[in-house]
Symmetry: C2
Subunit: 171 residues, 2 copies
Amino acid sequence: MAQADNETIDLEIIVQDTQEGKKPELRLWLRMLSTTKLISQEIRRRLRTEFGATLPQFDLLAQLYREKDGLRLGELSKRTMVTNGNVTGLVERLEGDGLIVRETPHGDRRVTVAKLTRKGEDSFSAMAKAHEGWLRDMMADVEPAAIKVLLDDMSLVKASVSNHLSEGESA
Amino acid sequence: MAQADNETIDLEIIVQDTQEGKKPELRLWLRMLSTTKLISQEIRRRLRTEFGATLPQFDLLAQLYREKDGLRLGELSKRTMVTNGNVTGLVERLEGDGLIVRETPHGDRRVTVAKLTRKGEDSFSAMAKAHEGWLRDMMADVEPAAIKVLLDDMSLVKASVSNHLSEGESA
DNA sequence: TATTGTTATACTCTATAACTATA
DNA sequence: TATAGTTATAGAGTATAACAATA
């Protein structure tokens, strides 16, 4: 099924992505979207089957992994680009799995801080390592120089986009 | 923290990634993912509020827009990277909105072909035009040269990924 | 028997808004 | 009044698998 039909499927989603020099911003977006979808489906499948996790969950765990003292849910919401209400749901599932805990610090009882448990650290650590390997395999044919260029230029895109959204939302 | 090798999962994951030159494939993926998410949320919001459509629906319509004779659902499934069963659901919603119709051609009664209605053509046409404008605005700060490079290099990534997906599944 | 598409199911994500409990 | 988080709701997307009709 996932057999690559090299000849037929170009997978260039949406509109025509084959017109030279026409609407380059749109073409770039569509190419990013299809490429991301391709990678994302594979990553999600493996996260699910090998770790029983989803991508948003992985994302959230990653944020906590680099902040050993935990993060307030509002901050977690900003960093993961997930709304407050939905962060609550994500956090509940992860807490149910024993990967994180919620704590209310003294001082401001409105605040909730989420942090990884030991189990969460170990679990995420394994996921991240596997994740890295999957990506290296998938991008095996891409020259290091191309990856470097993509990294830099993608930052420019991200900055431009952030800039031109509703002013004043970057944490 | 420890600076070991395997254990250093300094995953600047997903939304923020501001790290040194390690694990470039993973970093690229995370940057693509966060950038795509950023754009995608904005596009989805506008598609929904201005056209009452979703991104997968837009994607599906786009495939039909460039194939005036319509496409079989299986082909639609491949092109949109959506499973067969879920294509059925997508198609039903779009048919309910009067944007597309399903037909069974003579010759093979197992086959269903979806094609745009006149209303669907007009509707998609408007969406695509708006879509293009949104993207141009969002990427206003990105030099044309950078966009061109990104387009090319993104193709390499996509090709590599496609290539290594099929491999993994031919067991 | 294989293919094409449908149905069924379960779960998760996404978005919005109203609500609470603090402050 | 404003803030932090929760609850409620509704709608879609996603993945799997079983199924019917046709070839």
